[in-house]
Symmetry: D2
Subunit: 364 residues, 4 copies
Amino acid sequence: MAGSTIGTIFTVSTWGESHGKGVGAVVDGCPAGLPLSEPDIQKFLDRRKPGQNRYTTARKESDEVEILSGVFEGRTTGTPILLMVKNTDQRSRDYSEIASYYRPGHADYTFDKKFGFRDYRGGGRSSGRETIGRVAAGAIASKILAELGVTLCTYTKSIGPVAASEFDPSHIEKDPLYMADGHASEKAQAYLQECMAKKDSAGGVIECIVKGLPAGVGNPVFDKLDALLGKALFSIGAVKAVEIGDGTAVTLASGASNNDSFRCSQEGQITKATNHSGGILGGISDGSDLILRAHIKPTPSISSIQDTVNQDGENIQISIKGRHDPVIVPRAVVVVEAMTALTLADALLTGMGARMENLIKVWK
Amino acid sequence: MAGSTIGTIFTVSTWGESHGKGVGAVVDGCPAGLPLSEPDIQKFLDRRKPGQNRYTTARKESDEVEILSGVFEGRTTGTPILLMVKNTDQRSRDYSEIASYYRPGHADYTFDKKFGFRDYRGGGRSSGRETIGRVAAGAIASKILAELGVTLCTYTKSIGPVAASEFDPSHIEKDPLYMADGHASEKAQAYLQECMAKKDSAGGVIECIVKGLPAGVGNPVFDKLDALLGKALFSIGAVKAVEIGDGTAVTLASGASNNDSFRCSQEGQITKATNHSGGILGGISDGSDLILRAHIKPTPSISSIQDTVNQDGENIQISIKGRHDPVIVPRAVVVVEAMTALTLADALLTGMGARMENLIKVWK
Amino acid sequence: MAGSTIGTIFTVSTWGESHGKGVGAVVDGCPAGLPLSEPDIQKFLDRRKPGQNRYTTARKESDEVEILSGVFEGRTTGTPILLMVKNTDQRSRDYSEIASYYRPGHADYTFDKKFGFRDYRGGGRSSGRETIGRVAAGAIASKILAELGVTLCTYTKSIGPVAASEFDPSHIEKDPLYMADGHASEKAQAYLQECMAKKDSAGGVIECIVKGLPAGVGNPVFDKLDALLGKALFSIGAVKAVEIGDGTAVTLASGASNNDSFRCSQEGQITKATNHSGGILGGISDGSDLILRAHIKPTPSISSIQDTVNQDGENIQISIKGRHDPVIVPRAVVVVEAMTALTLADALLTGMGARMENLIKVWK
Amino acid sequence: MAGSTIGTIFTVSTWGESHGKGVGAVVDGCPAGLPLSEPDIQKFLDRRKPGQNRYTTARKESDEVEILSGVFEGRTTGTPILLMVKNTDQRSRDYSEIASYYRPGHADYTFDKKFGFRDYRGGGRSSGRETIGRVAAGAIASKILAELGVTLCTYTKSIGPVAASEFDPSHIEKDPLYMADGHASEKAQAYLQECMAKKDSAGGVIECIVKGLPAGVGNPVFDKLDALLGKALFSIGAVKAVEIGDGTAVTLASGASNNDSFRCSQEGQITKATNHSGGILGGISDGSDLILRAHIKPTPSISSIQDTVNQDGENIQISIKGRHDPVIVPRAVVVVEAMTALTLADALLTGMGARMENLIKVWK
């Protein structure tokens, strides 16, 4: 399937390039009867829009989503939902230079090696605009999750060397970097100013916390919930590491400190005393919060001078023109949330038949 | 598919539980004409055997693989290859205790929540023995890769706080912990002695380096090569973080330092001056070494006293009996290699038709 | 995936309803480098347009296709191709009557049972307009096949009781019913006049002959080429039987008469003396012509009075208003061709790695 | 996946060749908690055994099934079920002759074209023995269906020109040809005697009737229930045509006679007055009986003299040695039933989440 589709029952296929006529997604397998309208989706898209703050490009992109199918009288019909955002800015500016060489840190070279040539305008299919389809689809998945009492909180945990030390979820939405710590955010903004002055860029860490996910979601072997989430997060361009729960820190822990004890409340509710595992045991959710982190590399588009080669095999030096985000982390926050939501919605749907009693409950 | 199958063209489905009649895998989609015999596979299985050193359980498991189908006159026929390892030790010792409670850090609780009950003998399906099928299948994938000039080198990079500082690949095979640094290994062994004395356990990091992978393998969007590999590694029990290339370190780097410059040799060969990206750009291999790391949590089976609950909802204290590996990292080295090999073999097969010219080359 | 996607490597997902904003498809996995433009696709769509003759509805549908992604500088890029045909006629005429009852022979009742409600305007997702996406995608598949020397010839073999007795392929394109026998076509047209006079409708048989398909395409077991084609044809609404080669007639034949002898020409070319098998043996193409037939039921929308029930559970009588095609067979001819082409393109792509030597040919 | 796996949630992968060490299947995605033991499966396998009557080969095959995984304390655990039947007769008799030429009507030639060579012993992977895995898996699917009140009745409708005119389901199990009409069976047996005398063979028609399937199973587009069933039946070797409901006869019917009227009983139960559609409308079950027919070609292995070619490209004459079934229809009855059951079990599982209310019912 050439890899533009994700999911087994709830499937999402994105389409579109940076400078084609539009971008979007087809969502199939969405249960019928979910209330859905364009504003539900627009709200998510607005979180990834550029120009929200001065650390992302000022380029004006309206990115208005249209639902072309699959919704009738305000509810999903169970048939494919086509989501489309038209590309408004397709002016054919001169791409001949960018077409001729390989930008370091970008997919120009690898696309040529795989496909023989590439749509070089604005990164083509490897552009960040491809994530519009993911975010739009993620908005639908989030609505499904919300109906089941599952909520996601996603935020910027660090920018370059500046890590948050506090966690105030109510701050996230108003923070220009989507951090949950206003003081850290100020330091991070100062750091980004330095990066911009040096014509350089920064990376960072995004964390997603999922509350309300029932225990029993996921699978024992290849489709472990962590494996599905790992794939989903690594499918976001620029992610170079993914952690679940304590993540890399587990290698320094001991079994005694890393194991989460089970406890039973007086009401008979089983919980864990700690949550080093990040909500997953043996590939299946354990009813605790799901905790995921994605590590994002610094934006490869920088305006300082870089060595590279052109298509004629000559070693050259380039300086990438245009305005570039010194960091993509804030815009990627909602992408991480969307990919997590898509994965969970599908895992809930594919897991419905894990027990005979459920099959009987639905069909008999 | 309940998640016991991985791959699109080259598919692997594992089956079997710790104390059932056997474990193994079905490999479908293996190209016809590959020389294959049981010793090719046994060699891989022997690398994950317990009892290879004193840090893994002395339990005698012969783990001899049988090929039941798909090979004729020493070559694969292109039809499913059934791999089986019989479980020799199925003595029905008393599991009533372990059946009654949930071991911290294990999948006992989550299996019960998903399936309603579980095969509690020796961890059942969530046992490490499930990886026998993966390793056996990985041996086949490795043979395919070898025919294309692709080789894998996998080793223990750290155990608990003891990290290797040298890299001598020739040392790996003879090291009891599969480290590439004899001095670090000695320290790690001392550290494991301490863990055992404290009835505790340790985690560690495994690195896999792939050489010879052609550029152009992988896909632009959801099935990015890193996403497929991320899923494959996270599907290994106990993996809590996965890194590609510089991994988590990229968040501290700047764009200028993290971008790998392209260089063209006098022979017209395009290479990268550095390899921070770990051999993947935009989800597609770039012809450099692929570099992956899996972070493994400490073995959850420890014999010190732990708090937990039993199935009657009582808070109890347990001490897990029997001999337990203080670390599973060395045994997981070949599992990481197998999962990487499976993923690459499938990516090479699914990617054959990326260009019309290849389709014509094969069919016309 | 809720079943709106077909294919493994070359995948097609259709979207859209009869009276939504548009209909279309996403084609993923199309090899890069295929010359493609909108007229290539329009040519196919024009073959399924209504109003081509007086036996199909005169309703004016322009059905102009737009390619929104996946093509750059006249060639496919290997990334998803979004095909869209806007629905021009969305006037919200009164559907309250049709919304209230279940039309016999239609999917109204079953959609309600599956999804809880339905988009009742013009049949919604079960409308014949859904096939626009298939035909558009089929045009792309046909171009791939043409590059490999594979061509398809599809035509109406019978309408109601009127069967063709001659086969003149050059006649098909100009025949109003897409028959290959002008005399039979005249009789069939007379028969359709009778049907219309009786406010009734007719079915028929469509045959597809594929020339130039190399031997070795398909698979031995569940994904036999005949099984894939059978699924593809049965996925067309109104198809109630599918035949390969001699089809139902084989049950009256004997082994001696039904077996096709192999013959070797002086040039060493192996062929079959006859082709009862219709080009497939053991699920794999044998190099002969592929021969398929789909049996199409009479159009269920008829204006004569019918018994049915309404949503309140009352037994009522209805007469379906509006102009209806007395037969859909001629319009379904290109749909059968499209589904065959999609299936073959995918089978050729998934079959590229059947031998190690092919893998080496492409990657080394 | 090279096509040895079928299903989306409930998946079945068969493995094994005629003269390898064994044959069988892996069943994944079976809901946990289904009572299952080997006799449940053996009962099905016994129905396809040769030597049950004098029209099938007397070859003694015990075909005893073993469950190697996925069942614990008499119930399915939700993990993969490995089913194995050992091949008892692997004596290496001389296959050099059969290895050298292509049997008409068999897959020898196409396997060579696809894979480059083949396991020629007893047909290898294309042997009827491959269906053992399907039947064993079908027994599990049938148990799932039975728990939901869905039952299947499958029988031989015709042998060569001898068609049943009566339908007495209670007769089927005791009939040597699995016909539901004792008189027709006697005539069919006489016809088979003639075939054997002429060293020739016969085909026939198998019908499967499914009772109790709820309305709402299946999907609107590519994965229509009829499409999934069509694929499943065409995946059985020797099937050359598949019909649903009135099948090929619909092309002679008119809309008025072919449409099934809906009726509402006094209890408010909606039914159809007739069932020309065979229980499916628009790809989704309508609550009526499902009616399917598979048309089976005459056994290609006949001992009379046939023309063919050998691998050196010489035109030769052969006479296939050994005892051969003059008809495979009776043995294929249970295979048709198994493939239908597998398809329905998977359709029920994949369809659980068609409505939000079901998702809430299971997860909240």
